[in-house]
Symmetry: C2
Subunit: 283 residues, 2 copies
Protein backbone atom coordinates (compact mmCIF):
# COMPACT_ATOMS: atom_id res chain seq x y z
CA UNK A 1 0.00 0.00 0.00
CA UNK A 2 1.34 3.42 -1.00
CA UNK A 3 1.19 6.20 1.58
CA UNK A 4 1.16 9.50 -0.33
CA UNK A 5 1.72 12.91 1.23
CA UNK A 6 1.54 15.48 -1.56
CA UNK A 7 -0.98 16.15 -4.29
CA UNK A 8 1.84 15.74 -6.81
CA UNK A 9 2.52 12.19 -5.59
CA UNK A 10 -1.18 11.39 -5.95
CA UNK A 11 -1.29 12.85 -9.47
CA UNK A 12 1.69 10.76 -10.55
CA UNK A 13 0.24 7.56 -9.05
CA UNK A 14 -3.13 8.20 -10.71
CA UNK A 15 -1.64 9.16 -14.07
CA UNK A 16 0.41 5.99 -14.14
CA UNK A 17 -2.63 3.82 -13.46
CA UNK A 18 -4.99 5.69 -15.79
CA UNK A 19 -2.76 6.45 -18.73
CA UNK A 20 -0.16 3.72 -18.69
CA UNK A 21 -2.19 0.79 -17.42
CA UNK A 22 -5.74 1.86 -18.39
CA UNK A 23 -7.05 0.97 -14.93
CA UNK A 24 -10.08 2.49 -13.15
CA UNK A 25 -9.73 4.24 -9.82
CA UNK A 26 -12.13 4.27 -6.88
CA UNK A 27 -11.90 6.95 -4.22
CA UNK A 28 -13.09 6.94 -0.59
CA UNK A 29 -12.59 10.38 1.01
CA UNK A 30 -12.61 10.19 4.82
CA UNK A 31 -11.76 12.19 7.93
CA UNK A 32 -10.00 9.13 9.39
CA UNK A 33 -10.83 7.36 12.68
CA UNK A 34 -11.90 4.59 10.39
CA UNK A 35 -14.48 2.09 11.53
CA UNK A 36 -16.33 -0.78 9.90
CA UNK A 37 -18.65 1.56 7.96
CA UNK A 38 -15.69 3.24 6.24
CA UNK A 39 -14.28 -0.19 5.48
CA UNK A 40 -17.56 -1.18 3.84
CA UNK A 41 -17.18 1.84 1.51
CA UNK A 42 -13.68 0.61 0.69
CA UNK A 43 -15.17 -2.81 -0.14
CA UNK A 44 -17.63 -1.16 -2.54
CA UNK A 45 -14.84 0.74 -4.24
CA UNK A 46 -12.71 -2.41 -4.57
CA UNK A 47 -15.62 -4.32 -6.09
CA UNK A 48 -16.30 -1.57 -8.63
CA UNK A 49 -12.83 -0.44 -9.69
CA UNK A 50 -9.31 -1.72 -10.28
CA UNK A 51 -7.51 0.40 -7.70
CA UNK A 52 -8.76 2.11 -4.54
CA UNK A 53 -7.37 5.24 -2.92
CA UNK A 54 -8.50 6.54 0.48
CA UNK A 55 -7.87 10.09 1.67
CA UNK A 56 -7.65 10.90 5.37
CA UNK A 57 -8.05 14.58 6.10
CA UNK A 58 -9.84 16.30 8.95
CA UNK A 59 -10.94 19.30 6.92
CA UNK A 60 -10.85 22.52 8.98
CA UNK A 61 -13.05 24.36 6.44
CA UNK A 62 -16.10 22.28 7.34
CA UNK A 63 -15.93 22.98 11.08
CA UNK A 64 -17.29 26.25 12.45
CA UNK A 65 -15.55 28.02 15.32
CA UNK A 66 -16.75 26.27 18.47
CA UNK A 67 -17.32 22.95 16.74
CA UNK A 68 -15.22 19.86 17.46
CA UNK A 69 -12.33 20.28 15.00
CA UNK A 70 -9.71 20.02 17.75
CA UNK A 71 -11.35 17.13 19.58
CA UNK A 72 -12.35 15.22 16.44
CA UNK A 73 -10.79 11.76 16.95
CA UNK A 74 -7.55 11.09 15.02
CA UNK A 75 -5.53 7.87 14.88
CA UNK A 76 -3.37 7.79 11.76
CA UNK A 77 -1.46 4.61 12.56
CA UNK A 78 -4.58 2.57 13.24
CA UNK A 79 -6.21 3.99 10.10
CA UNK A 80 -3.26 3.02 7.90
CA UNK A 81 -3.24 -0.48 9.36
CA UNK A 82 -6.98 -0.89 8.70
CA UNK A 83 -6.56 0.30 5.11
CA UNK A 84 -3.66 -2.09 4.59
CA UNK A 85 -5.65 -5.03 5.95
CA UNK A 86 -8.64 -4.15 3.79
CA UNK A 87 -6.68 -4.12 0.54
CA UNK A 88 -6.50 -0.38 -0.11
CA UNK A 89 -3.95 0.44 -2.82
CA UNK A 90 -3.02 3.97 -1.72
CA UNK A 91 -3.76 6.34 1.15
CA UNK A 92 -3.39 10.09 0.70
CA UNK A 93 -2.68 12.13 3.82
CA UNK A 94 -3.02 15.76 2.67
CA UNK A 95 -1.57 18.49 4.87
CA UNK A 96 -3.58 21.53 5.90
CA UNK A 97 -0.78 23.72 4.49
CA UNK A 98 -1.05 22.18 1.05
CA UNK A 99 -4.85 22.15 1.01
CA UNK A 100 -5.27 25.71 2.30
CA UNK A 101 -2.23 27.74 1.27
CA UNK A 102 -1.86 31.41 2.14
CA UNK A 103 -4.41 33.54 0.33
CA UNK A 104 -6.77 30.63 -0.29
CA UNK A 105 -10.07 32.20 -1.34
CA UNK A 106 -12.02 29.89 -3.67
CA UNK A 107 -15.19 28.16 -2.55
CA UNK A 108 -17.63 25.74 -4.15
CA UNK A 109 -21.22 26.01 -3.01
CA UNK A 110 -24.42 24.11 -3.76
CA UNK A 111 -27.37 26.41 -3.22
CA UNK A 112 -30.74 25.29 -1.92
CA UNK A 113 -29.87 21.81 -0.66
CA UNK A 114 -28.17 23.25 2.43
CA UNK A 115 -31.01 25.26 3.96
CA UNK A 116 -32.53 22.45 6.06
CA UNK A 117 -31.26 19.63 8.32
CA UNK A 118 -27.56 19.96 9.25
CA UNK A 119 -27.20 22.94 6.89
CA UNK A 120 -29.51 24.99 9.11
CA UNK A 121 -27.54 24.34 12.30
CA UNK A 122 -24.03 24.27 10.80
CA UNK A 123 -23.72 27.39 8.59
CA UNK A 124 -20.81 27.13 6.17
CA UNK A 125 -20.35 23.41 6.87
CA UNK A 126 -21.39 22.14 3.46
CA UNK A 127 -19.47 24.87 1.66
CA UNK A 128 -16.41 23.51 3.43
CA UNK A 129 -17.33 19.99 2.37
CA UNK A 130 -17.98 20.78 -1.30
CA UNK A 131 -14.83 22.90 -1.52
CA UNK A 132 -12.55 20.20 -0.15
CA UNK A 133 -14.24 17.42 -2.12
CA UNK A 134 -13.77 19.46 -5.32
CA UNK A 135 -10.08 19.75 -4.52
CA UNK A 136 -9.75 16.06 -3.70
CA UNK A 137 -11.61 15.15 -6.91
CA UNK A 138 -9.34 17.42 -8.97
CA UNK A 139 -6.23 15.75 -7.64
CA UNK A 140 -7.41 12.12 -7.58
CA UNK A 141 -9.59 12.27 -10.74
CA UNK A 142 -11.28 8.99 -9.81
CA UNK A 143 -13.77 7.10 -11.93
CA UNK A 144 -15.93 6.31 -8.90
CA UNK A 145 -16.21 7.92 -5.43
CA UNK A 146 -18.00 6.30 -2.49
CA UNK A 147 -19.73 8.19 0.33
CA UNK A 148 -21.76 6.94 3.31
CA UNK A 149 -25.51 7.30 3.42
CA UNK A 150 -25.48 8.26 7.12
CA UNK A 151 -24.26 11.73 6.10
CA UNK A 152 -27.15 11.86 3.71
CA UNK A 153 -27.35 15.61 3.16
CA UNK A 154 -23.63 15.65 2.41
CA UNK A 155 -24.11 12.76 -0.01
CA UNK A 156 -27.00 14.47 -1.83
CA UNK A 157 -25.08 17.76 -2.04
CA UNK A 158 -22.01 16.00 -3.44
CA UNK A 159 -24.17 14.19 -6.00
CA UNK A 160 -25.61 17.54 -7.11
CA UNK A 161 -22.18 19.20 -7.23
CA UNK A 162 -20.65 16.34 -9.20
CA UNK A 163 -23.44 16.52 -11.76
CA UNK A 164 -23.55 20.33 -11.97
CA UNK A 165 -19.79 20.81 -12.28
CA UNK A 166 -19.49 17.86 -14.70
CA UNK A 167 -16.78 16.04 -12.79
CA UNK A 168 -17.53 12.87 -14.75
CA UNK A 169 -17.26 10.82 -11.55
CA UNK A 170 -19.83 8.19 -10.53
CA UNK A 171 -20.97 8.78 -6.94
CA UNK A 172 -21.99 5.65 -5.03
CA UNK A 173 -23.69 5.78 -1.63
CA UNK A 174 -22.90 3.01 0.85
CA UNK A 175 -25.51 1.92 3.39
CA UNK A 176 -25.27 3.00 7.02
CA UNK A 177 -23.68 0.33 9.21
CA UNK A 178 -24.93 -0.07 12.78
CA UNK A 179 -23.79 -1.42 16.12
CA UNK A 180 -25.79 -4.42 17.38
CA UNK A 181 -28.11 -2.09 19.31
CA UNK A 182 -28.86 -0.05 16.19
CA UNK A 183 -26.61 2.97 16.79
CA UNK A 184 -25.28 4.23 13.47
CA UNK A 185 -21.50 3.81 13.32
CA UNK A 186 -19.70 7.15 13.59
CA UNK A 187 -16.19 8.24 14.44
CA UNK A 188 -17.76 10.46 17.07
CA UNK A 189 -19.33 7.54 18.99
CA UNK A 190 -16.10 6.96 20.92
CA UNK A 191 -16.51 10.38 22.51
CA UNK A 192 -19.90 9.50 24.09
CA UNK A 193 -19.99 8.98 27.87
CA UNK A 194 -21.14 5.49 28.94
CA UNK A 195 -24.52 6.96 29.93
CA UNK A 196 -24.99 8.74 26.61
CA UNK A 197 -23.85 5.63 24.73
CA UNK A 198 -26.75 3.74 26.33
CA UNK A 199 -29.26 6.37 25.21
CA UNK A 200 -27.88 6.95 21.71
CA UNK A 201 -29.59 3.94 20.03
CA UNK A 202 -32.88 5.77 20.61
CA UNK A 203 -32.24 7.75 17.39
CA UNK A 204 -32.44 4.68 15.21
CA UNK A 205 -35.27 3.14 17.24
CA UNK A 206 -37.30 6.31 16.89
CA UNK A 207 -36.74 6.47 13.11
CA UNK A 208 -37.60 2.76 12.77
CA UNK A 209 -40.80 3.22 14.72
CA UNK A 210 -41.89 6.06 12.42
CA UNK A 211 -40.90 3.99 9.39
CA UNK A 212 -43.16 1.15 10.61
CA UNK A 213 -46.03 3.62 11.01
CA UNK A 214 -45.38 4.81 7.46
CA UNK A 215 -45.46 1.23 6.17
CA UNK A 216 -48.83 0.85 7.93
CA UNK A 217 -50.20 3.78 5.94
CA UNK A 218 -49.50 6.88 8.01
CA UNK A 219 -47.91 9.51 5.80
CA UNK A 220 -48.58 12.82 7.60
CA UNK A 221 -45.30 14.50 8.53
CA UNK A 222 -46.77 15.82 11.77
CA UNK A 223 -47.58 12.36 13.09
CA UNK A 224 -44.32 10.75 11.98
CA UNK A 225 -42.24 13.57 13.46
CA UNK A 226 -44.23 13.33 16.70
CA UNK A 227 -43.43 9.61 16.94
CA UNK A 228 -39.72 10.29 16.56
CA UNK A 229 -39.77 13.16 19.04
CA UNK A 230 -41.64 11.18 21.69
CA UNK A 231 -39.41 8.13 21.40
CA UNK A 232 -36.21 10.20 21.66
CA UNK A 233 -37.53 12.22 24.60
CA UNK A 234 -38.50 9.03 26.38
CA UNK A 235 -35.47 6.83 25.64
CA UNK A 236 -32.75 9.49 25.38
CA UNK A 237 -33.66 12.03 28.07
CA UNK A 238 -30.08 13.44 28.11
CA UNK A 239 -30.21 14.16 24.40
CA UNK A 240 -30.78 17.69 23.17
CA UNK A 241 -32.68 17.55 19.90
CA UNK A 242 -31.06 19.69 17.20
CA UNK A 243 -33.65 18.81 14.54
CA UNK A 244 -36.16 16.19 13.52
CA UNK A 245 -37.19 16.77 9.91
CA UNK A 246 -39.05 15.09 7.09
CA UNK A 247 -37.84 16.33 3.69
CA UNK A 248 -38.13 15.33 0.04
CA UNK A 249 -35.25 13.27 -1.34
CA UNK A 250 -34.69 15.50 -4.35
CA UNK A 251 -34.81 19.02 -2.95
CA UNK A 252 -34.28 18.34 0.78
CA UNK A 253 -37.16 20.70 1.57
CA UNK A 254 -39.79 19.93 4.25
CA UNK A 255 -42.84 17.94 3.12
CA UNK A 256 -46.22 17.70 4.86
CA UNK A 257 -47.05 14.27 3.47
CA UNK A 258 -44.84 11.48 2.18
CA UNK A 259 -45.97 11.16 -1.42
CA UNK A 260 -42.61 10.51 -3.07
CA UNK A 261 -39.24 9.30 -1.77
CA UNK A 262 -38.56 11.20 1.44
CA UNK A 263 -36.03 11.38 4.18
CA UNK A 264 -36.72 11.35 7.90
CA UNK A 265 -33.64 12.68 9.65
CA UNK A 266 -32.53 13.61 13.15
CA UNK A 267 -29.63 15.29 14.89
CA UNK A 268 -29.26 15.04 18.66
CA UNK A 269 -26.56 16.39 20.93
CA UNK A 270 -25.26 14.33 23.84
CA UNK A 271 -23.02 16.71 25.73
CA UNK A 272 -20.52 17.97 23.15
CA UNK A 273 -21.16 15.06 20.79
CA UNK A 274 -23.64 15.63 17.98
CA UNK A 275 -25.06 12.48 16.41
CA UNK A 276 -27.10 12.22 13.21
CA UNK A 277 -29.15 9.47 11.64
CA UNK A 278 -31.79 9.10 8.95
CA UNK A 279 -34.15 6.67 7.29
CA UNK A 280 -35.61 6.72 3.78
CA UNK A 281 -39.39 6.56 3.46
CA UNK A 282 -40.52 5.28 0.09
CA UNK A 283 -43.60 3.37 -1.01
CA UNK B 1 -10.74 19.47 -37.16
CA UNK B 2 -13.29 17.78 -34.93
CA UNK B 3 -16.47 19.70 -34.09
CA UNK B 4 -17.78 18.30 -30.79
CA UNK B 5 -21.23 18.98 -29.39
CA UNK B 6 -21.53 17.08 -26.11
CA UNK B 7 -19.33 16.85 -23.05
CA UNK B 8 -19.21 13.09 -23.58
CA UNK B 9 -17.70 13.55 -27.05
CA UNK B 10 -15.07 15.86 -25.57
CA UNK B 11 -14.25 13.37 -22.78
CA UNK B 12 -13.77 10.57 -25.29
CA UNK B 13 -11.57 12.69 -27.55
CA UNK B 14 -9.45 13.85 -24.60
CA UNK B 15 -9.17 10.39 -23.07
CA UNK B 16 -7.98 8.95 -26.35
CA UNK B 17 -5.26 11.60 -26.68
CA UNK B 18 -4.18 11.53 -23.03
CA UNK B 19 -4.38 7.85 -22.20
CA UNK B 20 -3.80 6.11 -25.51
CA UNK B 21 -1.38 8.48 -27.18
CA UNK B 22 0.17 10.24 -24.16
CA UNK B 23 -0.30 13.65 -25.77
CA UNK B 24 -0.70 17.00 -24.00
CA UNK B 25 -3.78 19.15 -24.51
CA UNK B 26 -4.07 22.92 -24.67
CA UNK B 27 -7.40 24.64 -24.13
CA UNK B 28 -8.63 28.05 -25.26
CA UNK B 29 -12.09 28.81 -23.81
CA UNK B 30 -13.87 31.57 -25.76
CA UNK B 31 -17.28 33.16 -26.24
CA UNK B 32 -16.79 33.05 -30.02
CA UNK B 33 -16.79 36.00 -32.43
CA UNK B 34 -13.15 35.16 -32.78
CA UNK B 35 -10.67 37.81 -33.81
CA UNK B 36 -6.91 37.98 -34.13
CA UNK B 37 -6.38 38.15 -30.35
CA UNK B 38 -8.19 34.83 -29.83
CA UNK B 39 -6.13 33.36 -32.65
CA UNK B 40 -2.94 34.48 -30.91
CA UNK B 41 -4.07 32.49 -27.84
CA UNK B 42 -4.56 29.48 -30.10
CA UNK B 43 -1.01 29.98 -31.40
CA UNK B 44 0.31 29.95 -27.82
CA UNK B 45 -1.58 26.75 -27.07
CA UNK B 46 -0.30 25.07 -30.24
CA UNK B 47 3.28 26.04 -29.42
CA UNK B 48 3.00 24.65 -25.88
CA UNK B 49 0.98 21.45 -26.33
CA UNK B 50 0.39 18.59 -28.76
CA UNK B 51 -3.31 19.18 -29.42
CA UNK B 52 -5.47 22.28 -29.04
CA UNK B 53 -9.17 22.43 -28.29
CA UNK B 54 -11.21 25.64 -28.40
CA UNK B 55 -14.62 26.01 -26.74
CA UNK B 56 -17.16 28.49 -28.05
CA UNK B 57 -19.89 29.25 -25.52
CA UNK B 58 -21.64 32.53 -24.77
CA UNK B 59 -22.14 31.78 -21.07
CA UNK B 60 -25.46 33.14 -19.80
CA UNK B 61 -24.35 32.83 -16.15
CA UNK B 62 -21.81 35.63 -16.53
CA UNK B 63 -24.27 38.19 -17.90
CA UNK B 64 -26.56 40.08 -15.52
CA UNK B 65 -30.13 40.87 -16.52
CA UNK B 66 -29.90 44.00 -18.67
CA UNK B 67 -26.42 43.21 -19.94
CA UNK B 68 -25.70 42.33 -23.55
CA UNK B 69 -26.21 38.53 -23.55
CA UNK B 70 -28.75 38.68 -26.37
CA UNK B 71 -26.83 41.18 -28.48
CA UNK B 72 -23.40 39.65 -27.85
CA UNK B 73 -22.04 38.99 -31.36
CA UNK B 74 -22.24 35.36 -32.57
CA UNK B 75 -20.94 33.88 -35.82
CA UNK B 76 -20.40 30.15 -35.49
CA UNK B 77 -19.56 29.46 -39.11
CA UNK B 78 -16.90 32.14 -39.32
CA UNK B 79 -15.48 30.99 -35.97
CA UNK B 80 -15.18 27.38 -37.12
CA UNK B 81 -13.48 28.49 -40.33
CA UNK B 82 -10.96 30.62 -38.41
CA UNK B 83 -10.19 27.70 -36.05
CA UNK B 84 -9.73 25.36 -39.01
CA UNK B 85 -7.35 27.77 -40.74
CA UNK B 86 -5.37 28.28 -37.55
CA UNK B 87 -4.74 24.58 -36.99
CA UNK B 88 -7.11 23.92 -34.08
CA UNK B 89 -7.62 20.17 -33.50
CA UNK B 90 -11.11 20.28 -31.98
CA UNK B 91 -13.82 22.82 -31.27
CA UNK B 92 -16.39 22.19 -28.55
CA UNK B 93 -19.77 23.91 -28.94
CA UNK B 94 -21.53 23.27 -25.61
CA UNK B 95 -25.29 23.80 -25.46
CA UNK B 96 -26.90 25.90 -22.73
CA UNK B 97 -29.15 22.91 -21.91
CA UNK B 98 -26.20 20.64 -21.24
CA UNK B 99 -24.22 23.24 -19.30
CA UNK B 100 -27.14 24.41 -17.14
CA UNK B 101 -29.59 21.52 -16.75
CA UNK B 102 -32.78 21.85 -14.71
CA UNK B 103 -32.04 22.27 -11.02
CA UNK B 104 -28.50 23.52 -11.62
CA UNK B 105 -27.39 25.04 -8.31
CA UNK B 106 -23.60 24.75 -7.87
CA UNK B 107 -21.35 27.79 -8.04
CA UNK B 108 -17.62 28.39 -7.78
CA UNK B 109 -16.56 31.70 -6.31
CA UNK B 110 -13.24 33.41 -5.69
CA UNK B 111 -13.63 35.82 -2.80
CA UNK B 112 -11.80 39.13 -2.51
CA UNK B 113 -10.44 39.47 -6.06
CA UNK B 114 -13.89 40.48 -7.36
CA UNK B 115 -14.60 43.53 -5.21
CA UNK B 116 -12.93 46.14 -7.46
CA UNK B 117 -12.75 46.91 -11.19
CA UNK B 118 -15.33 45.02 -13.27
CA UNK B 119 -16.41 43.03 -10.21
CA UNK B 120 -17.79 46.19 -8.62
CA UNK B 121 -19.95 47.12 -11.60
CA UNK B 122 -20.92 43.60 -12.71
CA UNK B 123 -22.14 41.74 -9.57
CA UNK B 124 -22.20 37.97 -10.10
CA UNK B 125 -20.21 38.22 -13.33
CA UNK B 126 -17.06 36.52 -12.07
CA UNK B 127 -19.03 33.84 -10.23
CA UNK B 128 -20.54 33.01 -13.62
CA UNK B 129 -17.08 32.94 -15.17
CA UNK B 130 -15.43 30.74 -12.52
CA UNK B 131 -18.40 28.36 -12.49
CA UNK B 132 -18.38 27.81 -16.24
CA UNK B 133 -14.59 27.61 -16.44
CA UNK B 134 -14.62 24.95 -13.69
CA UNK B 135 -17.10 22.96 -15.73
CA UNK B 136 -15.11 23.37 -18.93
CA UNK B 137 -11.90 22.37 -17.11
CA UNK B 138 -13.59 19.27 -15.65
CA UNK B 139 -14.69 18.10 -19.06
CA UNK B 140 -11.59 19.01 -21.09
CA UNK B 141 -8.99 18.26 -18.37
CA UNK B 142 -6.33 20.14 -20.32
CA UNK B 143 -2.66 20.39 -19.39
CA UNK B 144 -2.56 24.09 -20.31
CA UNK B 145 -5.27 26.73 -20.67
CA UNK B 146 -4.73 30.11 -22.32
CA UNK B 147 -6.60 33.33 -21.44
CA UNK B 148 -6.21 36.89 -22.71
CA UNK B 149 -4.61 39.58 -20.61
CA UNK B 150 -7.16 42.19 -21.71
CA UNK B 151 -9.69 40.59 -19.34
CA UNK B 152 -7.09 40.89 -16.64
CA UNK B 153 -9.34 40.57 -13.60
CA UNK B 154 -10.87 37.43 -15.10
CA UNK B 155 -7.39 36.07 -15.77
CA UNK B 156 -6.20 36.74 -12.21
CA UNK B 157 -9.35 35.20 -10.72
CA UNK B 158 -8.99 32.09 -12.87
CA UNK B 159 -5.33 31.79 -11.87
CA UNK B 160 -6.36 31.93 -8.20
CA UNK B 161 -9.20 29.44 -8.70
CA UNK B 162 -6.99 27.00 -10.59
CA UNK B 163 -4.41 27.11 -7.82
CA UNK B 164 -6.88 26.97 -4.92
CA UNK B 165 -8.98 24.12 -6.33
CA UNK B 166 -5.85 22.23 -7.45
CA UNK B 167 -6.93 21.73 -11.04
CA UNK B 168 -3.37 20.89 -12.02
CA UNK B 169 -3.68 23.04 -15.14
CA UNK B 170 -1.05 25.59 -16.20
CA UNK B 171 -2.70 28.96 -16.90
CA UNK B 172 -0.96 31.08 -19.54
CA UNK B 173 -1.91 34.71 -20.22
CA UNK B 174 -1.65 35.98 -23.77
CA UNK B 175 -0.85 39.62 -24.47
CA UNK B 176 -3.55 42.06 -25.54
CA UNK B 177 -3.60 42.57 -29.30
CA UNK B 178 -4.47 46.01 -30.65
CA UNK B 179 -5.79 47.64 -33.79
CA UNK B 180 -3.34 50.00 -35.53
CA UNK B 181 -4.75 52.97 -33.61
CA UNK B 182 -4.24 51.19 -30.26
CA UNK B 183 -7.78 50.02 -29.53
CA UNK B 184 -7.67 46.66 -27.73
CA UNK B 185 -9.22 43.94 -29.87
CA UNK B 186 -12.59 42.84 -28.53
CA UNK B 187 -15.58 41.01 -29.94
CA UNK B 188 -17.66 43.95 -28.79
CA UNK B 189 -15.79 46.47 -31.01
CA UNK B 190 -17.99 45.60 -34.01
CA UNK B 191 -20.96 47.00 -32.10
CA UNK B 192 -19.42 50.50 -31.77
CA UNK B 193 -20.92 53.26 -33.89
CA UNK B 194 -18.43 54.89 -36.33
CA UNK B 195 -18.26 57.94 -34.04
CA UNK B 196 -17.57 55.85 -30.93
CA UNK B 197 -15.04 53.76 -32.82
CA UNK B 198 -13.06 56.95 -33.49
CA UNK B 199 -13.05 57.86 -29.78
CA UNK B 200 -12.38 54.39 -28.39
CA UNK B 201 -8.57 54.40 -28.89
CA UNK B 202 -8.45 57.08 -26.16
CA UNK B 203 -8.55 54.31 -23.54
CA UNK B 204 -5.20 52.91 -24.58
CA UNK B 205 -3.72 56.35 -25.23
CA UNK B 206 -4.71 57.46 -21.75
CA UNK B 207 -3.21 54.35 -20.12
CA UNK B 208 -0.02 54.75 -22.18
CA UNK B 209 0.31 58.38 -21.16
CA UNK B 210 0.04 57.43 -17.47
CA UNK B 211 2.51 54.60 -18.02
CA UNK B 212 5.01 57.08 -19.49
CA UNK B 213 4.57 59.33 -16.46
CA UNK B 214 5.20 56.33 -14.23
CA UNK B 215 8.38 55.51 -16.15
CA UNK B 216 9.46 59.11 -15.56
CA UNK B 217 9.11 58.60 -11.80
CA UNK B 218 5.57 59.55 -10.92
CA UNK B 219 4.05 56.83 -8.79
CA UNK B 220 1.16 58.51 -6.95
CA UNK B 221 -2.14 56.88 -7.84
CA UNK B 222 -3.96 60.20 -7.71
CA UNK B 223 -1.78 61.78 -10.40
CA UNK B 224 -1.77 58.74 -12.67
CA UNK B 225 -5.55 58.32 -12.42
CA UNK B 226 -5.99 62.03 -13.12
CA UNK B 227 -3.94 61.70 -16.29
CA UNK B 228 -6.10 58.83 -17.53
CA UNK B 229 -9.33 60.63 -16.63
CA UNK B 230 -8.34 63.85 -18.37
CA UNK B 231 -7.19 62.14 -21.55
CA UNK B 232 -10.39 60.09 -21.81
CA UNK B 233 -12.63 63.09 -21.10
CA UNK B 234 -10.79 65.08 -23.74
CA UNK B 235 -10.43 62.47 -26.50
CA UNK B 236 -13.53 60.36 -25.85
CA UNK B 237 -16.20 62.89 -24.85
CA UNK B 238 -19.02 60.42 -25.69
CA UNK B 239 -17.60 57.83 -23.33
CA UNK B 240 -19.14 57.32 -19.90
CA UNK B 241 -16.41 56.26 -17.48
CA UNK B 242 -17.37 53.16 -15.49
CA UNK B 243 -14.10 53.05 -13.54
CA UNK B 244 -10.48 54.12 -13.64
CA UNK B 245 -8.54 52.23 -11.00
CA UNK B 246 -5.01 51.50 -9.90
CA UNK B 247 -4.77 48.20 -8.01
CA UNK B 248 -2.08 45.79 -6.83
CA UNK B 249 -1.40 42.83 -9.12
CA UNK B 250 -1.73 40.24 -6.36
CA UNK B 251 -4.84 41.27 -4.46
CA UNK B 252 -6.51 43.62 -6.99
CA UNK B 253 -7.07 46.13 -4.22
CA UNK B 254 -6.55 49.89 -4.70
CA UNK B 255 -3.06 51.25 -4.04
CA UNK B 256 -2.06 54.84 -3.33
CA UNK B 257 1.46 54.46 -4.72
CA UNK B 258 2.94 52.04 -7.21
CA UNK B 259 5.56 50.24 -5.14
CA UNK B 260 5.12 46.73 -6.53
CA UNK B 261 3.62 45.34 -9.74
CA UNK B 262 0.32 47.14 -10.24
CA UNK B 263 -2.48 47.37 -12.72
CA UNK B 264 -3.98 50.52 -14.17
CA UNK B 265 -7.36 49.61 -15.61
CA UNK B 266 -10.34 51.34 -17.16
CA UNK B 267 -13.87 50.57 -18.27
CA UNK B 268 -15.78 53.04 -20.45
CA UNK B 269 -19.24 52.77 -21.95
CA UNK B 270 -19.94 53.98 -25.47
CA UNK B 271 -23.69 53.74 -25.81
CA UNK B 272 -24.54 50.14 -24.94
CA UNK B 273 -20.99 48.94 -25.57
CA UNK B 274 -18.72 48.64 -22.55
CA UNK B 275 -14.99 48.54 -23.34
CA UNK B 276 -12.17 47.65 -20.95
CA UNK B 277 -8.42 47.98 -21.14
CA UNK B 278 -5.46 47.90 -18.78
CA UNK B 279 -1.72 48.36 -18.52
CA UNK B 280 0.75 46.85 -16.08
CA UNK B 281 2.95 49.26 -14.12
CA UNK B 282 6.12 47.63 -12.87
CA UNK B 283 9.56 48.98 -12.14
Amino acid sequence: MRVLETAQQVREWVKQLHAVHGLTIGFVPTMGSLHEAHLSLIDISRQRTDKTIVSIFVNPAQFSPGEDFDSYPRDEEADLELCRERGVDAVWLPSVDEMYPEGFSTYVEVEGLDTQLCGASRPGHFRGVTTVVSKLFNVVQPDVAVFGRKDVQQARIIQRMTYDLQFGIEIILGDTLREVDGLAMSSRNVRLTPEHRLEAPALHQALSEASSQFQEGINEAERLLETVRNRIKQDAPSGKIDYIQLVGWNDLQPVEHVDTKSLLAVAVRFGSVRLIDNIILEK
